[in-house]
């Protein structure tokens, strides 16, 4: 099968959905010029024209709000946030407006909106270019939150997100952009709300998101022979595929959640909460959450590496979970 980059998969999904549905358009900074600064929108303006691929001034509140208003009146916008950090300058439009309007209208208005945001760490871009907002958007009623870790999922989930009737936050990992993987041609979707076991195992469930999925898989390899690790990627963080998480935990009786974002009040906390609520008696050892240290992400690689969970930290955390009961 052909191999393509994660970022090519995102690009393909947009090509296909824009061809399929005339109401879909892309809006964001530089998306029309040379395919955008990360080249995610390559070829779109040439194919669909300047009407449907709209480069904007650096006015995130205005163009996010414009997109929300366009969604309210019949279009299906894809908004690109160059870095998810910049969502902060448009947070009112993203939350107070886009997330609430459909409900506040008593269901009389629909707001199908995809906000694509690039995020990630490990590239020394410091605190204001290394943020994670998945937990904020999960906390906010009104959003679905998608976080693909493979090119296959990136394509299939983005197509589903674009067809969804609700605001969807779609998070793209900057480091994964140039990961190359097998992605079949043709028409298929990955439905929102379905997790996938990326590696089967018997001793412990590691729920991991984004780039941490790959780190967890490496950790699982290192532990192989000693500990049989199951790696589960929720892919959609909200709505969470809780049945998949529970059935894995019921099998392994142990849980570690790994993410690159800070832990306090996060997705990791939430998974732990749900698992203990639903499967307390099935747990052998206390579950653990592993994420970034509670500091803004530092610039220096020496510090950044230490602040973000690495493969060896996951290995240690797995061992810590399993030893807890001893």
């Amino acid at each position: 099968m052909r191999k393509i980059w994660y970022k090519t998969a995102i690009n393909e999904a947009m090509h296909e959905e824009m061809a399929r549905d005339e109401r879909v358009f892309l809006i964001g900074e530089d998306v029309d010029l040379f395919g955008g600064v990360f080249k995610i929108s390559r070829g779109l303006v040439e194919r669909f024209g300047a009407r449907r691929v709209r480069g904007t001034p650096i006015s995130e509140s205005a163009f996010v709000g414009l997109a929300a208003g366009a969604a309210m009146t019949g279009l299906r916008p894809i908004v690109e946030m160059m870095y998810i950090d910049f969502a902060l300058v448009a947070m009112d439009q993203l939350i107070n407006q886009a997330a609430s309007t459909s409900y506040m209208s008593g269901g009389r208005v629909r707001l199908p909106l995809v906000v694509r945001g690039q995020y990630g760490t490990g590239t020394s871009e410091a605190a204001q270019h290394s943020r994670n907002f998945e937990s904020w958007f999960i906390n906010t009623p009104g959003y679905k939150v998608v976080m693909p870790s493979t090119a296959y999922d990136a394509k299939g989930l983005l197509k589903s997100a674009i067809r969804d009737e609700n605001p969807v936050l779609y998070l793209e990992n900057r480091v994964l952009y140039t990961h190359k993987e097998e992605v079949p041609e043709g028409e298929w979707l990955v439905p929102l709300g379905s997790a996938e076991v990326k590696r089967a195992g018997a001793d412990i469930t590691v729920v991991a998101t984004g780039y941490a999925v790959h780190k967890a898989l490496s950790a699982a390899e290192q532990l192989a022979g000693r500990v049989d690790v199951e790696v589960l990627d929720p892919r959609t963080l909200d709505p969470l595929d809780l049945p998949a998480v529970l059935s894995s935990v019921r099998k392994t009786a142990n849980l570690l959640v790994v993410q690159e974002a800070p832990v306090q009040c996060s997705f990791a906390s939430e998974v732990v909460r749900l698992v203990v609520q639903e499967a307390f008696r099935d747990l052998e050892h206390p579950p653990l959450a592993l994420g970034a240290a509670d500091v803004p992400v530092p610039f220096s690689p020496a510090l950044e590496r230490a602040v973000i969970p690495q493969v060896e930290d996951i290995v240690a955390a797995v061992q810590r979970v399993l030893e807890k009961g001893a």
């Binding site: 205005a62 366009a70 008593g106 208005v109």
Partner: protein, 321 residues
């Protein structure tokens, strides 16, 4: 400037009176506890909503504010369901989910109020964007007041609307106050028209208490917008007669409000129409009676409408696919 047809003048008057009496009812119902939440009365500004909204078609979209009863009535005419919404009922415009600040009637182009000052301006550009995208001659209207011009969204939207020549009419109701802050304590340059022009948006100032002046200015702007001539701004000078909000006491200098009495938009227009011989005293009585009866029905409708049932209400975030 073309003069306005008599039947339109009568329509404008009807809406002016309807909104005024509606708001007076709301005030009473609020103090009786039959209407709850944050209620921002529109009294004194009726000419703006009526003059602008009656120059529009149903399909044109309006994005309103926290002070949106007037816009909602002038655009949708759905007095009964608006009243029911303010009372939190299931047959309310937003099925009780939105309340006073979130009145939606999409079939009539009413796309909701907003609890966030300046929050609706970007959305109003979205309505214009959709029209332009679809090659329609629909236009979109964004209402806001003098306080909102100091939100970043206003400036961002002026530039974006001008850059993309969006068919959006931005209507600034300069009612002299943002909550308790008078306009001279919130802006260094009082003139909103000048700001708009500096961003490339054609702008005009109009007497916001003169419904004919507003209607004429809006009609001209709307015609230009339908011909893709780019965004327009209307700054309507007016005055907020009531306190900012139900719960907030008003502490304006004594006598200040009274100074505006001669500019009351309803009396002003009534006086003019009577002077022109366009309406008689008995027309006026009949109108007041019609409005009173309609509002009686609206209050009754609201009071009879069931509360939304939390068991039926799906409590769900996501629209079904």
């Amino acid at each position: 400037m073309e003069s306005i047809d008599l039947h339109i003048k009568r329509e404008l008057l009807e809406y002016l009176v309807l909104i005024r009496r509606f708001e007076e009812r709301v005030k009473v119902l609020y103090h009786q506890g039959a209407i709850m939440g944050a209620i921002h009365l529109y009294i004194g500004q009726e000419a703006v909503a009526v003059g602008v909204c009656r120059s529009l078609r149903d399909e044109d979209t309006v994005f309103s504010t926290h002070r949106g009863h007037g816009h909602a009535i002038a655009k949708s005419g759905e007095v009964e369901r608006i009243m029911a919404e303010l009372m939190g009922r299931d047959e309310g415009l937003s099925r009780g989910h939105g309340g006073s600040m979130h009145l939606f009637e999409p079939p009539k182009g009413l796309m909701g109020g907003n609890g966030i000052v300046g929050g609706g301006i970007p959305l109003s550009l979205g309505g214009a964007f959709t029209a332009q995208y679809q090659g329609s001659d629909r236009i979109s209207v964004g209402f806001f007041s003098d306080g909102a011009v100091n939100q970043g969204t206003f400036a961002e939207c002026l530039n974006l609307a001008a850059l993309w020549k969006l068919p959006v009419l931005l209507v600034c109701e300069n009612n002299q106050y943002a909550a308790t802050t008078p306009v001279e304590r919130s802006t260094a340059v009082r003139d909103v028209v000048g700001r708009a022009r500096a961003f490339g948006v054609r702008a005009e100032k109009v007497d916001g208490n003169d419904v004919e002046a507003v209607f004429q200015a809006a009609t001209a702007a709307v015609a230009a917008l339908r011909q893709s001539q780019g965004p327009r701004l209307l700054e309507c000078e007016t005055y907020r007669v009531e306190p900012h909000c139900g719960i907030i006491p008003d502490e304006r200098t004594p006598g200040e409000r009274e100074l505006w009495n001669p500019r009351d938009p309803v009396s002003l227009f009534v006086g003019r129409l009577v002077g022109e011989g366009a309406i008689s005293a008995s027309d006026l009585e009949a109108l007041e009676r019609r409005v009173r009866e309609r509002l009686d029905r609206a209050v009754e409708f609201g009071a009879r409408s069931p509360w939304p049932d939390p068991q039926v209400d799906p409590h769900r975030t996501w629209v079904l696919q």
